[in-house]
């Protein structure tokens, strides 16, 4: 810290003064140490000749000639006025002697530094100045908890954004930093009458200084954990509709798994994992399709303002209320959440009201969604008929139906085609959806009492007609500040969400409807039965009929499927500042939510078309379900922040409790008289043998923790956390789970010897720790009984054991290790932070098969290991930055490999079952299914290896396990033929500012993975010619010996079985978002206009139909933010 160039920088002066005047023990020691190393060598010759120059000018010259650093106090020097010097070819020592002759200054040479000090202490007393002020953002909103650094002192603004500092050094820089904003440095001189007004600019790409982990705020430079902080503003730029979409761009290791079925359905909940999967979907009963995994076992924990919330809550959150989002990834960052931490933690903080005059902010968004059908290439009417003809649909021999009947059928259709019927069914259930959002936020108050009120109305219509997710919410936030030491804060939020599913049903039904059908009859009524195909079961066999019902007909009925919830959250916090730096905070949050689901199917719906006459009174159904959820979440914590000489400690200790209660009940009534009366009271009764069902789940969690962030001289960093969790989900014999983490870091750039102008920041970090996951239903560890209500015995009702309750059931343990460095170049204009991580999850929850003589075929046990390793790269650069304009670019890249290390024996049984289903069940023959094998990735694609189609006979050639070739598909030859995990995925883009105009462009990419092209299997090779198909059906199929084709023989009508033939490399590049904004100032009022376009362009190496049940969408959002 003593090595400084002899420039008259503020730092220099500051350090020098500190060095000399401070009587701290520590400094004396260091001075002593330094003096020991005084060198007595002869030095380079110097020449200096000038008249009437100031001493510091003279030192400058000497410094330039020798390369020595001059170390002095400006005040001491300045008052000595100017001198004349004339020194020629003298040693530095001689020169100094001459120069300082007769002046009240002493000097030594310490190493390569010249230390100059006054002979008599010139410091009488530091003048202490008090500076106060307020920190605001560009919207003039005060910013609370902004951290302020003056030399070694750390301050914070209070909840009103106000601060008060004691400054001893006129020239000391005062730096302000706050998450989501660019740091700013001010000087005392900028203060007017002791008042300093600070305005912080919104952060550019992630230049954030403080990490919020939900319990404490830690200065980023001193933190060893891996955390990604992103401001609410930035997330809005990336995706104004969905917090999580934007987060995926900021950090690709936060991955939203593609679900090709649900597309852009606003009501479907995404499946997310952070740094790879760490658990297997539980329940090995059902067969799992690789492309439709909906299990939520890898979900990160979501923490909103200190309490845990559901994924649904995050999706429905008003984005304008978000101040920042922090994604905690490694053990050092997440261990404070113990048993909920293994899959990462997402900490969301919302904005708090600031004081001042009544301020009104109005937000408006108009969101336009258009369906994206670029991946659909279906045949038009004439092509379709032509294809049918070619495929032999009208071939009497093939269909075993008299030729004249088929001819009649054909010409009827031809009549339609020629008559101009060419219905584009795909567009029927779709629309361009326009959603709106209005948000009003009022805030105001004075020093002691402040309030904020927010109201929101938002509609989120989906691109399928009738589907929507509308939100209304209101909130009240007030805080009471008693003598600055005791604070109370209360936030009440009421949210109402109305979710509607489209009455049009699955989009797939429209894709496969033939274009030569008319939608309506001559009267304009929607046609219900479009066609009845007939064929025969063998020659002269019985006729079989295939009725084609119009999916559109269902939409004309009064069926509905709604799911609404109303939620009240109250969050109360009290804080007491015991002494400076020591605060106690208690927080209590209550969430109460009631969800009602109502699903009415009209008796006229196609689902009941085939009911027998005797079941007429069973048509129509109404399923009603309701869930009541109550969550209590409380925590109490002690925060201690202290800077003691070179030691900086940020400690938090606390405890939290949480209780969850969810009470679900459901029943289905059937038999409705007609389409008009939809109330459940019109039902005839329950379905036969049906009864109401209910499920009550209760769980409790208790945890206490201590976490410390410690740094020595800002160079050596350490984070350590210990947490113990108790959960009611654990078995009675394993109630307590210990978790821990340790992180160490080294700020190399702060080392004295580090002397590199190009590198402005270099920090090494290493963290390791153990975290857990308990995402399983609450009573797995218990032996439970059920009553057999349907079968009473003559002497009473019987209760039987359901499962073997494992009292030793525990949590999944994830041991993670993280290594990385942060490198800032050229004053942090280029910032690079690579990470390497290794995650080993042990004790996966699994079914263990046991000898059935125990009475059970399996029980739950912690068995199975899974491994994830990966590399994360993040690069950002400030290309241009000046007053007028700036350009920033960034790129993130993530590589993750997953390996199943150990699995339980029941998964073997599952694999066998999958093999059987794959071989025999038509539904699964052409679909890759999930299998688990030790040593393989969870994302591996299992199929039989194929060499393609034999040109000789049009049959597919398979490779058996032993390498021999065969035409026979055999489940035993199924092996790993690909891996869906991309080699890397990432995002890149840039932000451009010009005055008040801003634009950002963001791309997402993934490459190096494999994909099984389901469209080629289902819609080309196995296409059913009676339904509409992909236009690639006209592609060459094998017809005669010698044809080299991708597709099998045209005469082969069998179901293609899953093989490597359809595996294609999957490389994707998509333009995730473009955002533009412009700030207007209309008579002191801030108005920001913005526009975001999402999912505009997409390039993929796999041409596959996307959005099977619900298409994907492109969207544009226009936003306006005004403040009065």
């Amino acid at each position: 810290m003593l090595l400084l160039k002899s420039t008259k920088s503020m730092h220099f002066n500051h350090w020098a003064k500190n060095f000399i005047s401070r009587k701290s023990l520590c400094n004396r020691v260091s001075l002593l140490l330094v003096l020991i190393f005084v060198s007595i060598q002869t030095y380079a010759q110097v020449t200096i000749s000038a008249k009437n120059i100031s001493l510091d000018q003279a030192f400058d010259q000497l410094s330039n000639q020798t390369g020595y650093t001059f170390f002095y106090n400006n005040k001491d020097i300045r008052k000595l006025g100017k001198v004349d010097v004339a020194i020629k070819n003298a040693s530095l020592e001689t020169a100094m002697g001459q120069l300082l002759k007769g002046l009240p200054l002493n000097w030594h040479i310490v190493d390569k530094t010249v230390v100059i000090r006054a002979t008599t202490p010139t410091h009488v007393q530091d003048t202490v100045r008090e500076i106060s002020g307020i920190v605001r953002n560009k919207l003039n909103e005060p910013l609370p908890r902004v951290s302020i650094r003056v030399v070694n002192e750390v301050y914070q603004t209070n909840n009103e954004g106000e601060f008060k500092l004691k400054i001893t050094d006129e020239d000391a820089p005062i730096s302000f930093s706050f998450i989501g904003y660019q740091s700013a440095t001010y000087r005392v001189s900028q203060a007017r009458n002791g008042k300093l007004n600070v305005v912080l600019d919104d952060a550019k790409i992630g230049l954030n200084e403080v990490v919020v982990n939900g319990y404490q705020e830690i200065h980023r430079d001193n933190y060893t954990g891996t955390a990604v902080v992103v401001s609410g503003e930035r997330l809005k730029e990336l995706s104004p509709q969905n917090v999580l979409q934007g987060l995926q761009v900021v950090d690709p290791s936060f991955k939203i798994l593609n679900n090709n079925f649900n597309g852009s359905n606003p009501n479907s909940m995404p499946v997310i994992n952070v740094r790879g999967s760490s658990a297997l979907p539980t329940g090995s009963d059902g067969i799992l399709r690789r492309d439709n995994i909906t299990s939520s076992v890898n979900l990160p924990a979501f923490i909103l303002d200190g309490y845990e919330v559901s994924l649904e809550k995050v999706i429905d959150l008003d984005m304008n209320r978000i101040a920042s989002v922090t994604l905690l990834k490694d053990a050092a960052a997440t261990a404070i959440y113990g048993s909920r931490a293994a899959n990462g933690v997402l900490v969301i903080t919302t904005k708090v009201p600031a004081n001042g005059k009544l301020q009104v902010t109005y937000n408006h968004e108009t969101n336009i969604n258009g369906p994206d059908l670029t991946d659909y290439h279906v045949l038009n009417a004439s092509q379709k008929l032509q294809y049918e003809q070619q495929a032999g649909v009208y071939d009497g021999v093939q269909q075993k139906v008299p030729q004249d009947a088929l001819d009649e059928l054909y010409y009827k259709k031809l009549m339609n085609v020629v008559g101009g019927v060419n219905t584009y069914w795909l567009s029927q259930p779709l629309r361009t959806a326009v959603g709106q959002k209005h948000g009003v936020y009022l805030q105001g108050g004075e020093e002691h009492f402040r309030y904020g009120i927010d109201l929101r109305y938002q509609t989120r219509p989906g691109v399928m007609k009738g589907s929507s997710r509308d939100q209304y919410s209101g909130g009240m936030n007030f805080s009471y500040n008693l003598s600055n030491r005791i604070k109370f804060q209360n936030e009440l939020t009421i949210t109402q969400v109305k979710a509607k599913e489209s009455p049009y049903g699955s989009f797939a039904d429209y894709v496969k409807t033939n274009p030569y059908y008319r939608m309506t009859d001559d009267e304009g009524m929607t046609i219900r039965e479009l066609e009845t195909w007939s064929d025969r079961n063998g020659d002269g066999g019985a006729y079989q009929y295939d009725h084609v019902l119009s999916a559109l007909y269902n939409s004309t009925l009064s069926s509905f499927n709604n799911n609404n919830y109303a939620e009240i959250i109250d969050n109360f916090a009290a804080e007491f500042e015991v002494t400076k730096g020591l605060r106690i905070r208690g927080q209590m949050s209550l969430t109460s939510r009631q969800t009602n689901g109502d699903n009415f199917l009209s008796p006229l719906a196609n689902q009941f078309y085939f009911y027998a006459a005797s079941e007429t009174d069973q048509k129509g159904s109404y399923t009603s379900n309701r869930t009541k959820e109550t969550y209590w979440d409380g925590n109490i914590r002690l925060n201690y922040v202290k800077q003691l000489h070179d030691h900086s400690i940020n400690l938090v200790a606390g405890a939290n409790i949480r209780t969850e209660l969810s009470d679900y009940a459901s029943f289905t009534a059937v038999g409705f008289p007609n389409d008009r009366f939809t109330s459940v009271g019109f039902a005839k009764g329950y379905a036969e043998n049906a009864r109401p069902s209910s499920n009550i789940e209760k769980s409790r969690l208790f945890g206490d923790f201590v976490s410390t962030n410690y740094s020595y001289k800002d160079r050596y960093l350490m984070d350590a956390t210990v947490r113990t969790d108790g959960s009611s989900k654990f078995g009675t014999d394993k109630r307590l789970a210990p978790f821990w983490s340790l992180g160490v870091g080294w700020n190399l750039h702060k080392e004295a010897w580090f002397n590199n102008t190009a590198i402005s920041q270099l920090r090494l970090r290493f963290t390791t720790g153990l975290t857990g996951s308990v995402q399983f239903s609450p009573y797995l560890s218990r032996t439970t009984y059920t009553y057999d209500q349907t079968n009473w015995y003559s002497s009473g009702i019987g209760a039987t054991v359901d499962n073997y309750g494992n009292k030793n059931l525990g949590w999944q343990k994830t041991r993670s290790t993280d290594l990385g460095f942060d490198l800032g170049l050229f004053n942090d204009r280029i910032f690079l932070s690579p990470r390497v991580y290794y995650k080993l999850t042990k004790d996966l929850l699994a079914d263990i098969s046991i000898a059935p003589s125990t009475g059970f075929s399996s029980y739950k046990e912690n068995l199975g290991d899974m491994e994830n390793r990966g590399i994360e790269l993040s690069l950002r650069a400030v290309v241009v930055q000046n007053k007028e304009w700036s350009v920033n670019v960034y790129a993130n890249l993530v590589h993750n490999t997953n390996k199943i290390v150990r699995i339980s024996n029941s998964l073997e049984a599952y694999n066998n079952k999958v093999n059987q289903e794959q071989a025999n069940n038509d539904k699964y023959k052409g679909v890759p299914l999930l299998r688990y094998k030790e040593g393989q990735s969870y994302d591996a694609i299992y199929a039989v290896r194929s060499l393609g189609i034999d040109p000789q006979n049009g049959k597919e050639i398979f490779v058996k396990q032993n390498g021999t070739l065969t035409y026979q598909w055999d489940a035993r030859d199924v092996r790993v033929v690909g891996d869906a995990t991309p080699f890397a995925q990432g995002s890149f883009g840039g932000t451009f500012h010009y005055r008040k105009f801003m634009m950002s462009v963001n791309f997402q990419t993934e490459f190096g993975g494999d994909m099984y092209n389901q469209t080629l299997v289902d819609r080309v090779e196995n296409a059913n010619p009676r339904y509409n198909v992909d236009s690639r059906v006209f592609a060459e199929k094998w017809k005669q010996p010698g044809d080299k084709t991708f597709y099998k023989s045209i005469t082969d009508w069998g179901q293609t079985q899953v093989s490597s033939r359809f595996i294609q490399p999957n490389n994707v590049l998509s333009l995730q978002s473009i955002y533009c904004s412009y700030d207007l100032r209309v008579t002191k009022r801030m108005v920001r206009l913005g526009m975001t376009a999402n999912d505009i362009l997409r390039w993929s190496s796999v041409e596959q139909e996307r959005g099977i049940d619900y298409p994907f969408a492109r969207s544009i959002t226009f936003s306006l933010q005004a403040q009065f």
């Binding site: 959960s727 019987g798 209760a799 046991i850 059935p852 009475g855 024996n905």
Partner: protein, 482 residues
């Protein structure tokens, strides 16, 4: 110091926390909650019976299914609606057979686990019980455990006492119980049954005021089976009562070839005169509501299976060739209608003839039961799966004392006037096949005696352990290390 205090606080909070973290499920019942009341124990005990009366177990499969098929009691054709044809040919690799047999193994052991969990809790909760319920419940649970193990043994193990049998599981645990020899299993069963017998000396069925009769009986002195104010104490014969335990003991002793003890127990039942022979007027009644097809009053024990009535009537024993049936020839050969059995009431009442393209067939109406709830149409009795009959006590007595009189007594009640001549065992086997038709017992008798199985044509299939011993389920071999 701080660390010490923190640790102390943590320890203290956690000791009180343990209780707080102990949450009882509400939409399911945890074992702790169930076993906190007497009703809970009653429900858990009844649960074992409902479990056993399921279709895969005594409700259908073990009564009229696999054992009867193996004993060649049905005529099976290629129109094999229930996939029993391969089973009847002893193809033990057939997927349907494996599935059914495995379900029996898993189901019975699950019922045993239910007994074991109940037994593990009952002694520590003895204070909860009123009246004699402690002894009654514990006695029945022990008896059930023995009964179910004994049936598993009869299916999955050879008869030889020294041969490897099955695991006799007495603990509720996920740990594997080692295999016992056949002899050891029998001894364990006898041990449990003996204890049960001691406990059940308080059984209401032993009291003179407990009168066995038909539930439809209007005269309350002729049937007191349902007169107990406690539902739990009614219909003792639907559960393992004192006499049922005696009967089971007689069976097990006989299987062990301990004839003296078998006789003692059989005679205890016979001499109690608790179980009256069925009146011909009831057996032969024409009106459904006055008819007793299963000789209800002679049942020492049977499974209550009202939910099965429809299945039996409308599908399994459907009166048509698509239902399980037997050819007229086979039926006549079983009941020796050409000889001594010309007047056998059972043949007349249990089998009805219908003509078809391939000759006359006989449909099984033994279980024909009116499912309508209207009193006018109901039978005299409940829909039951017979488990132990009074007649079996006579058969055991006959075999153990080598006295044909016992056998003749039964025959007289069945309308066969002539006493048996010739080899007692041969006659006994024939008689048992008639009496136990579609009750799932005769196969075990063939096995115990290593007797050839008489097929549909009157020919015989040589006795062999390959037939008599059903293979263990694969899962048991794989995960149990058998």
């Amino acid at each position: 110091m701080r660390l010490f205090i923190t640790t102390l606080i943590l320890t203290l909070t956690f000791t009180s926390c343990k209780k707080w973290l102990d949450i009882q499920p509400e939409s399911e019942i945890s074992d702790e909650v169930l076993y906190s009341t007497e009703e809970g124990f009653q429900e858990a005990l009844v649960g074992v019976y409902t479990k056993c009366s399921q279709e895969q177990l005594y409700g259908k499969e073990l009564t009229v299914g696999t054992p009867e098929v193996l004993a060649q009691n049905y005529t099976l054709t290629d129109n094999d609606k229930y996939n029993y044809l391969k089973t009847s040919k002893y193809v033990y690799t057939d997927a349907d057979f494996i599935n059914r047999k495995d379900q029996i193994w898993v189901g019975l052991y699950n019922a045993i686990a239910n007994c074991n969990l109940l037994l593990a809790n009952i002694d520590s909760k003895r204070k909860l019980f009123t009246g004699n319920n402690y002894a009654l419940i514990k006695g029945e649970a022990l008896a059930l455990r023995a009964y179910l193990h004994f049936d598993l043994l009869r299916m999955f193990a050879p008869v030889t006492a020294t041969a490897t049998g099955i695991p006799y599981v007495t603990k509720y645990s996920k740990d594997i119980t080692p295999m016992s020899t056949v002899g050891a299993v029998l001894d364990s069963a006898i041990n449990d049954l003996t204890k049960a017998k001691e406990l059940l000396t308080i059984d209401p069925i032993l009291s003179a005021s407990y009168v066995i009769g038909y539930p439809t009986e209007k005269d309350t002195t002729l049937n007191t089976e349902e007169s107990s104010p406690q539902l739990f104490l009614q219909n003792r014969r639907h559960r393992l009562n004192y006499y049922a335990v005696c009967g089971t003991l007689a069976r097990v002793y006989l299987y062990k070839n301990d004839k003296a003890n078998a006789l003692t127990n059989a005679l205890e039942v016979i001499n109690s005169h608790k179980f009256p022979w069925t009146n011909n007027s009831d057996f032969l009644a024409v009106d459904d509501d006055k008819k007793d097809r299963i000789l209800y009053k002679e049942l020492l024990f049977g499974w209550y299976i009202p939910t099965m009535a429809t299945t039996y009537k409308n599908s399994f024993f459907l009166i048509s060739t698509s239902g399980i049936h037997l050819s007229e020839y086979a039926g006549q050969s079983i009941y020796e209608t050409g000889g001594a059995g010309a007047d056998d009431l059972r043949y007349k009442e249990w089998l009805v003839s219908s003509s078809g393209t391939a000759g006359n067939t006989l449909n099984v109406v033994k279980y024909l039961h009116n499912t309508d709830n209207t009193a006018d149409d109901a039978n005299l009795h409940y829909m039951m799966a017979p488990a132990i009959r009074l007649s079996e006590m006579y058969y055991i007595a006959a075999e153990c004392s080598n006295n044909a009189d016992y056998l003749n007594t039964v025959r007289t009640h069945r309308g066969i006037g002539s006493p048996v001549t010739g080899d007692l065992i041969t006659e006994l086997v024939k008689e048992c096949r008639k009496e136990w038709y579609a009750e799932g017992q005769i196969f075990y008798m063939y096995k115990r005696l290593n007797h050839d199985i008489i097929n549909q044509n009157g020919g015989s299939i040589p006795a062999s352990d390959k037939i008599f011993v059903l293979p263990l389920p694969n899962d048991e071999i794989l995960y149990g290390g058998r």
